[in-house]
Each structure stands twice: as structure tokens, then as C-alpha cells.
Subunit: 322 residues, 4 copies
């Protein structure tokens, strides 16, 4: 069964559609004003396999649509993100951090990572070359956008590992655009986790993991869903309709039986064929994805800026980043 | 019944799924190597109403996927387009032409029009200020990208009408990104027609028509499908599956009856609700839409360049356009 | 004598280097915190000819370098600009305004006009189609970026005139990137005037005037210097050095005489030859001109937004413009 | 004495203005149709110090203005570049190569490096994952754009060294935008050398060397001049004028003496003060630098493509790069 989502929370929702509870998965919810935080803890290998996500902590922040958020609410959200980042990344007073902007800057819905990098308060060079001019509370932050395999010819993991070994940061934060299963997640969800980036995740193709094991330092990942696979969405719409038909059919009748017999995987391949989707290259995305990416990148970047530098304001960031 | 496509050919296919032939609509097909040309002539008001497209001529050129087309085939295709443009626009030796690049340059799948403008051999000013330096066979061509209502606050039709009255060209050619119904049309179809741009067509919102009546000069339109409405595609996938189920159900049985009872419009609203698509702002598009738009724009622009300037080569255009 | 500047104030400074005062030109200065406002009134045709600028009012606002301005000062400056725009444009409660973004969006230092348009609160369509939803104090604003002659084949003035005749606004505001004579003006000066755009002004080539006479409605222009002609700057540096040499030379000596004999025009052609500048296509500009244009565009746009809409905040604009 | 040029050839011309020949520097010229090739070999440390360039080989290719070059001449030039790259880089049948695109993609005249990367035929991943599908003669090529210190917080040299150690290519090719001294070099010169990138070179700030010593593999560098420092150009124009004045002055007279006494460094600081150039942030560049960079990038990239892959055509590259 292929649930085709990068969100642990969606994968969990899918699992629990038919089961009440999954052993080894702890879920807690918290509401702060308009924002809902769901913490999914995957505790056992067994649970991880069921969920299709590695053992670890996943924090999902559900927000208003970013494209209609005012700047007051945006700052509030960034401060909240900062708190989660600090906790998840175990940020200490003298932690040095390297941020990795994953994805292809030339494919708009995949450009979240590189966009975030361009909004960061990068300080490592200044702390090195003019430490006396830097105020207290500024941590050492550096950042790269390694590009994607199709353009560099190099696995992202090889580039990041090479640079990490030279820089030796205390923490790596990976940023990536995610694929969701449901349209209601697009531009309304931010996922943070402490398991890094799993193989095959994201909009583009990244084969090898970026995590504590491969990089030798703790890795947290922050992602925002920007697309849904076109085949997934049509398959889900089918489910929605057959479910609604089932409700009105006589239990035990021929119709109910046939509907129940419809195998999801058969459906998907049928749809793919019907829609000429053999190359898997079609996505569902908001019409104004360019603007959505820009706003989401600013929110994620400022969450990181607030988390890594103490006592700074949005104005300080604006002056610094330009 | 809402067929949600800008392609006359798709609308015709949809109509003839249940009927054999439509009175007042003439269809002719022609195959030239890998390229298939379908000419749909809508002859009567009655047929126009059925089809949802104005009376006039629609030429659909079906091609290989532009993203894998080599430059030899591309030139061949541009020469073929030029021939169709010349015929449809009734281009004479001394015709002067104004090209309108419709759409929003900041929303990638809507940017076809502005992109085409930037690849055109625009000559009107040179023929005016240095006619002796221009070779024979170069016609007067000018071009504007009027922007979209949300950014200008002005109906596209008002801007185009204002400029047309000043310039008084013999022909207006409108370029626009189109919405199709089927994924197989995306980046594989070019539609030319002599009815201009009908109200509500295109990816963005354009309320008023650009045609011979509103502009006072003949108008042809050239479009390439770049997106499918997300609700449309899911609705179509449902149809595909229910059709396949119907085939295996007993005629006259409960199941067959229920499937036949499923009303397409009900389905669509059900899906929209299920998928949180109430705002209609989600589209299906290729992941690499940026590159697709760039290639499609070059093909359309060179079709126009070859149609409006005699004896020029791709090299001449490259030197001129830069 | 060619002073090669779009700034009336620089032209005036140049004139008064050798003369004390020019009949028919009134100059007043005002200091508001860090901002200096110079008002130049050209009262007679004679003075206009001497200055090389049409009869009218020129307001020059000299500011801190925009690239290091914090957001508090930026809002203050925008409010000040708004006041000047309202006065110069004689904005009434029910004035409708069309803003024209001149320049080529593909040549960074010439892209100020199109950039300003993309930051404007455009309202004309909303006041037309949903007047009841618009708050009080919102005036009708529309906007176009007509492109440049080399890309459209149409004189900017023809496009603007065509659209103006359709829209019939009460006032036209033209935005353009300017050429200055001195580096100290770049990104530190904003010029407003009520004479429109004179022929040949700006970075690009615009042959015909946009003013009350050609458009039939009052026209004000707002510009920011973004470049200096490379030949101008070298010529000016020569003057600076020869002036300093003159000071140390014996009056009446051979050296003094020769220095005095150096004709500015001869120098210029000598330099152009020496520097292979025959094509006049080299400019002096800040290395970070992309960022400078972005900031300057935001300042000018918000000055216009504050001038044309009552009781709005920067937050309102941000929500509206996105 | 600061000659402020990244071109060894300009540095050499400057040295030989006053001296006939420099010991330890060998210069050979070759003319191939419209293209002039100058080979400067710096043989001794002594000569290197005089020239301000490391010991090694510098090949300067002088061409027609790239902005008016037709595609036939462009291919010819790329083939010629390929030959020089093969010789300088000692390319063997099985050499693997990593290309580094230096510079800031957001500052147009500094974006040559990243632009070249986007036009390269990158093959390393395909040779790894589907070797059987690759034709003969295709070498392993990978590429990165490491960004600049101000954006990453990491010295370019640290990033490149980290990745080089992981990838272990046989050769590194660095691409960079250069600063020239004379306007006639801009967009008409390509410099290749086998000394890598020296500290402080380029438009941006790169403090540490990328060469055989720091990277542990041979490094060649390819650069195109895109800017001139604004202070340099004004200083040079002064020299041009004073030289011309000297010629007409009486030898031994007061004037001649004073002219001869003008110290170049004094002039430069005088000019910088006079022109408010204290921050060194003004550059001289062609107005259409965006287009110039695009064309130069394509030429350099195709030179590399032809050098590293045998028996390929421009069409093959176009199909591959897209």
C-alpha cells in the first residue's frame, strides 16, 4: 500500500482510518490560538515500518493559509516555530548550525529550500572575521543550496557530507518542499522532524538519506507541502465518491460488494492509464504557487532566524538580509 | 453540462461520445509526418451553442511532446504553423500585424503570452525609422503584453482596444495559455482559431472578448494547453473508472443502474468538497512547466516569425531577437 | 554643452558653478530630519532652455542610502513622498489615477517602472465590480507597464495615449529610472515633477513626451537615478582633477593656461575614443543594483499608495499586494 | 602599483608600457580567422611578482563582440575553446571532471559561473546509474555552484575542498566573471589558465585560492571580463588625457614637469573622493549585461561540453540540456 505523502501525520491518519490505534505511535495535539500542533512520536521499528516513516519525532504545525496571513500573525507563527526548532534541535548557547536548502530552484514548487536560504541571517563568516562587531546571542549559522542530482551529477548526500566534514557544525537543518496527499495541507502545514530527510522524499529525486547516521551530526528537517501527485489526488477522489456510494447502498447487496472489491492499487493503475500519467510527471499545485513559496520560505527562514539568534526582531532581520 | 476545456477539439470529442455527428460542425483530419492537424469548422449558431465555442474555424495541431523535440523537427513544425497562420489570418504582402501576449508573466503556467512576445521579430519601429535598412519581405510587426486585470485594474480588452485604435494594424494575433480537459493535450497541442479569445477563456480571468467585433480588425488566436483544472481531472478519472466498472456489470442489475444514475455534476461538487477545492485555485500541470512554457513559446513565436517575414532563417531570428 | 543628467537639480548646480543665479529659476530648500527637499521652479521658457528642462516644478528628495534604511525611516519617507505627490498631482477626494511603469524589465537598472507597478495597490477593477466591499478613502488606481520601443515596436507614447483615451483618468503618474551625473545621487535621490517625461530622458530610449499636452490629462513623473553614463563619469573625474591642479598652478603660467584651454567637449570625445566607448552602451551602476532597484521601487510605490488611498497602513498594503 | 585587472594579458600590457620585455615572461600570439590567441607563460617567481599573477600558463582568446556573433561563428569559437581546454587541462580518454561555477547568481555581472553550470552536459550520475545507455566518448562530468561567502557564510574554498575530497575528480575547472581594466575587453575576451583562481580575483570577494595546492587535483580556470571598477576606468581616462597633453607640451617645460609629477595613486584617491566612491561598490558594465552574460555563459559551457564529450553536436547538447 502506497500512501504517497511526506507528512507523518497524513500517513498516520491513513493508517487509523481502519484501525483505532497503532502500537508504538504516540500522538499528542495542542491548540495555540489559530494554530494546531500535532506531535507524532514513532517509538518502535515495527511502528515505523507500518507508518512508512523512520523512528523519531514529527511535529506538524497547522496554520491559516499563508497567502492571507497578516504580518502580526506571521511573526507569532515564526516565534512558535522557533520554539519547536530549538527543542527539536536541542539548540545550546554556543551551537553552530548549517542549513541545507534542498530542491531545484528552477522548478517553482521544488524551490522552497533555496528560497529559505536566501532569507537566512547567515553569520558564520562575520563571527570569524569580525567577532567583536557581532552582538551577543548571535550563533554561528552557515547555509548551502547543494542543487539536485540532475543538474550537479552528484548525490545531494555526497555534497552535504563533504561540506559537513569541513565545517563540523553541531546541527544540520534540512529544508525541503514536500508532497502531501490532501489539498487541504498545501500551504497550511509545516512539518518538523528529527529524523532528517528519508530516501525518496520530497518533490524531486533524492536517493540517499541525510540524517545523523550519514552526516555524523544531528539532523532536523523542516518541510512545507507544496504539491500533490496528480495520480494520488484522482485516486483519493475516487475513494471519496465510492465511500459516499457505499453509505447509500444496501449492505450485502451486489453493489456494496462490488464497491468493496475495488482494489485501490488497481484503481490507481487504471487511472494512470486513463489519464496518460505513465511518466508520473504531473502535479497538483496552487495556481499562485510562486507567491505561496515566497511566503512559506519567509516563515520558515524567520522561524530559523528567531531560533538561532537571541533578542532579534523582524526589523533586524530585514536590515541584515536586505 | 460543463466541459471545462479551451480546446474546440476536446469539446467536440466530448459531444460525440454520445452522438455520432453534430449538425453544423465539419471536421477534417490531415496527417503530416508525426503531426496531426484537425480542422473543426463550426458553421451555425446552433452548433456553436452545443459546442460552447463561437462560430468559426479551429485548427488543432497535435505534436510530439515539445520537451523532447529536436531542433530539426522544431523548425519543421514552426514552418507548418506559419502556413496555418498565413491562411487563417489571410496575411497579404503588406499586412501589418499586432501580436498580443495575454496572461500573467508571474504565474508560470499563465506566462505563455508574454514569453512569446519576448521571442518575436518586432519590426514596426525599424520599418518606420530606417526603412531603407530593412530587407524585402519583412512585414510590420508590433507586440504588447497588456498584463492581467488583477495587476493593472484594467480589462485586457480596454487596453488592447485603446492601442489597436492608435496603431490600426491589419490583423491582431492573440496568444494565450489554455486549460485542457485531458493530460495528453498538455505540451502536445497547439490550437489556432479565427474567432479571437472568447470570454472566460484561458488560465487567468479575462472577462471580455478580443475579436473582430470588439477590436474592429480581424483577430486570430493561438494557444497551447498548459494546465488542467484539478477538479476536472478528478471528475474525469471517476468517469474512466465507472465506465470500466459498467462494462463488467450485468446490464439491468442494481449496480449498473446505480452507476448510470451517478450524475456528473453531483460527482464534481462531491469531489470539490471532499478535496477542499472550493476556491478552484488548484491546477494540474507538469512538474517542469517552466521549461515547457519556454519551449512552447519559442515554437509559437517562430511560427509567427516565419509567417510574417519572408525568406528568414532560424539564425536570422536568433541574431535579431538575441 | 551637454550635461547628461535627468535631475533638474544637478542641471541647476552645473549652471550655477559659473553663474551666481539664473533669472527665471526659483530654488527653495527644506530639511526634515535626515531628508532634504529641494524645490526648483522653472518659470520662463528662457530659463527652461538654459537648464535643458521644461517649464514646471521639480521636487528633489535627498535621502540616506536606501540600501541601509530601516523600516521605520522607510515609512516616514513614504509618508513624506505621499504628501509631495498629493500636492504636485493636485489629488482630490475622487481623483482617479493611472500609473505608468516606464522602462525595460529585462535590463535591471531600467526596471524601476515595472517594479513599482508590481508593488501598487491597484483598485480600479474592484471599485467597479464590488464597490460595496471597498472601504472609504480608496481611490480608483490602475497601472500599466507599456514596455520599450525595442521590444514592442510601438512608441511608448502611442500605447499610453491609446489607453489613456479609453480609461480617461484624472491624473497620470509616470515612473522611470533616471540617469544622474554624480555617483552621490544614485539610490539617494528621488525626483518628482509636474512636467511629465521629456523626450530622450531615462536610461532607455523614449523619443516622445508623456505630458499634459500629449496625453490630455495632467501628468506627474517620479524618478530615481540608477545609472551614470560611463563617458560622463570619466569626464567629470577629469574636471575634478584639473580643477584641483589649477588651484596649485601659478595663475597666468603656461600650465594654468593650458588647463583652462582644455575644452570639455574635446575631453569627452578624447575619452570616448580612448575607452572604446563609441557605442555609448556602458553605464556606471552599483554592484548590487538588483537589490537597490527593489528597495527604491517599494519606496516609490508606497509613496503613491499612501498618496492615493486614505487611512491605510504598510500592513494593509502588504496584505493587498502580497 | 595596483593594476586592478584579472587578465594576465592586460597586466602584461601595462608592465610593458614602460619596459620592452620582462624576463621570465614568454608571450606568443596566434591569429585564427577573426580570433586572436595570446599565450602568456609566466616562468619565474620573480616575473610572477612583477606581473601580480602566479607562475603558469595564461591563454587569452580575443573575439568579436559576443552579442553580435552568429551561430556558425559561435560553434567555431566553442570548438577552438574546447581544443585549448583539452590541452590546458591535459584531458585524457577517461578523465573525470568537476566544474565549479563561482560567483553570485543574484548579481547579474557576477553570475557567469552559475549560468555556465546550467548549460553543461552533466553526466556523472548517468554513467554511474545507467552506464550501458551512455554513448562512447562521454566523460564523467559533475558541477556545483557553491555560492558566495556573504550568502553561505562559508569560504568557497572550504565548500569546494569538501566536495572535491568526496568526488575525487581528475580535474577541476573553475568558472568566474572577471574584472578588466579596459572597456574593450568586456564581452570580447576569454581567459583560460592553469593556475586556478588566485585570492581576491573576480567581481565578488573570494579570499582563498582554488588551485592544485589547495584542492589536491589539477585546476584550470576560465573567465570572461564583465565589469570594470568605476575608479579604475576614471583613473585610466585621466592617464589617456594627460598622455595626450604631454605629447603637445614642451619637454622640460613647467607643464610637462607637472604632468609627469602626477602620481597615479594620488589621482586615484583624489578621484575616489571626488566621485564619492569610497565604498568601491560602483562598476562599469554594458547596459545589456543580462544578455551578454547569457551568451558568454553559453559559449564557455559549450567549449567545455565539446572538450569533455567526443563526437557531440550543438543539437545533442540542446536536447540534453533543454
Amino acid at each position: 500500500m502506497n500512501i504517497r505523502t511526506d507528512l507523518a501525520m497524513e500517513a498516520y491518519e491513513f493508517l487509523t482510518e481502519t484501525a483505532d490505534e497503532i502500537a508504538g505511535i504516540e500522538v499528542k495535539e495542542e491548540q495555540i490560538n489559530d494554530t494546531k500542533i500535532t506531535r507524532v512520536e514513532v517509538e518502535t521499528k515495527d511502528a515505523a515500518e507500518k507508518l512508512g516513516k523512520p523512528v523519531g519525532n514529527y511535529v506538524t504545525v497547522e496554520i491559516e493559509d499563508v497567502s492571507i496571513m497578516d504580518s502580526g500573525k506571521m511573526e507569532e507563527l515564526c516565534r512558535l516555530l522557533a520554539k519547536e526548532i530549538k527543542a527539536l534541535g536541542n539548540i545550546k548557547e554556543d551551537s553552530s548550525v548549517m542549513v541545507i536548502g534542498l530542491g531545484n530552484r528552477n522548478i517553482t514548487p521544488d524551490a522552497l529550500g533555496p528560497e529559505v536560504i536566501s532569507c537566512l541571517m547567515v553569520t558564520r563568516h562575520m563571527l570569524r572575521y569580525m567577532p567583536e562587531q557581532m552582538p551577543e546571542g548571535i550563533r554561528s549559522v552557515c547555509a548551502i543550496s547543494p542543487g539536485v542530482l540532475g543538474i550537479t551529477g552528484i548525490e545531494t548526500e555526497e555534497i552535504v557530507r563533504g561540506v559537513t566534514e569541513k565545517i563540523k557544525p553541531d546541527l544540520v537543518i534540512c529544508i525541503d518542499a514536500l508532497a502531501a496527499r490532501s489539498i487541504k495541507r498545501i500551504s497550511r502545514t509545516i512539518q518538523l522532524c528529527d529524523v532528517g530527510i528519508a530516501p525518496g522524499a520530497g518533490v524531486g529525486n533524492k536517493r540517499r538519506a541525510l540524517n545523523g547516521e550519514t552526516l555524523g551530526v544531528p539532523v532536523i528537517a523542516i518541510g512545507v507541502p507544496t504539491v500533490i501527485d496528480a495520480a494520488t489526488i484522482t485516486s483519493d477522489s475516487l475513494l471519496a465518491v465510492t465511500d459516499s456510494l457505499k453509505k447509500s447502498a444496501k449492505q450485502g447487496g451486489e453493489f456494496y460488494k462490488m464497491l468493496s472489491d475495488i482494489n485501490e492499487d488497481e484503481q490507481l493503475s487504471l487511472i494512470k492509464e486513463a489519464l496518460y500519467m505513465s511518466n508520473n510527471n504531473f502535479i497538483v499545485t496552487p495556481k499562485d504557487v510562486d507567491m505561496m513559496i515566497e511566503k512559506a520560505a519567509k516563515i520558515v527562514a524567520n522561524g530559523i532566524n528567531f531560533a538561532l539568534h537571541e533578542n532579534i526582531s523582524l526589523e533586524d532581520i530585514e536590515m541584515y538580509v536586505g
